[in-house]
């Protein structure tokens, strides 16, 4: 949960739980995986600093492709995954920092 840890103003809500997967082979052991329950960004708090995008090791976060108001109503400033996923088809490829 690096994004939530690095966020300077705590605007990322991320919740998950662990699920046990049955073994894939007869002698295998059950595997536990982390399952995402909720990912939401409170854009009413967000600074648009981009730190979460930079630190994500999986490039799961992107800048929105266009500059626009995140919402026109105060009650719509908490963007859950359904809302955030709407941007994905237009998202630009993440830029890698030079190493």
């Amino acid at each position: 949960m690096i994004c939530a840890r690095e966020c300077p103003d705590w605007c990322i809500h991320i919740e998950s739980h662990t699920e046990s997967l049955p073994p894939t082979s007869p002698r295998g052991r059950p595997r536990s995986v982390a399952v995402l329950d909720r990912f939401a960004i409170d854009v009413g708090l967000c600074l648009y600093c981009g730190i979460c995008i930079d630190v994500c090791p999986f490039d799961a976060l992107h800048w929105a492709p266009t500059h626009d108001y995140p919402a026109t109503d105060l009650r719509e400033l908490l963007h859950e995954t359904d809302r955030l996923a709407g941007w994905l088809p237009e998202a630009t490829a993440p830029t890698q920092p030079s190493r």
């Binding site: 949960m1 939530a4 705590w10 990322i12 991320i14 919740e15």
Partner: protein, 180 residues
Amino acid sequence: MPDRAMPVHRQTVDPGQWRAAVAEVLTGGPVWFEVLTATERPVVAEGHAPVEVILRVRRLAAADASDAAGAAYELHTTVGPDRTLDSVTGLLRGAAWCEREVAEMMGVRFTGFDDGTGLGLRRLLLPETFEGEPLRKSAELAARGVVPWPGLKEPGEARPAAGRRRTQAPGVPAWGVDGG
């Protein structure tokens, strides 16, 4: 972009030499005062996080062949635990607002402050009744006392596991849900 092309002369000075160092830069010719600001450095001793004050001016006309018009001069100094520093308002009148801001936000006391009003070093942005130095890392944010820090959880955890070494976010009050 002149910023990229023009040289930046950086110099770190002793806080006791602060005013003299600024005066030295100003003797080279007319300058544009860009900024006086401060930042908190990592803690070096128990309870003492030094505050670094930074002043930046830009040369408007070359003083000599070794100099260049447009070059930036940046002075850095780290104030001691007493957090006092000589004011440069006598040299750069425009630094008054910046010094007032640094004073109220970071708790640096500028001695000899004079902005021509005779009112001395006073608040710039915060109300008179405000207590504390809000841009210090030690400043407590009351709202963080009632909300658990989202960064404390690991993947797969519904709530932070007990016993793990706890990292802590800045600004959480000691009385808060994650405090102590």
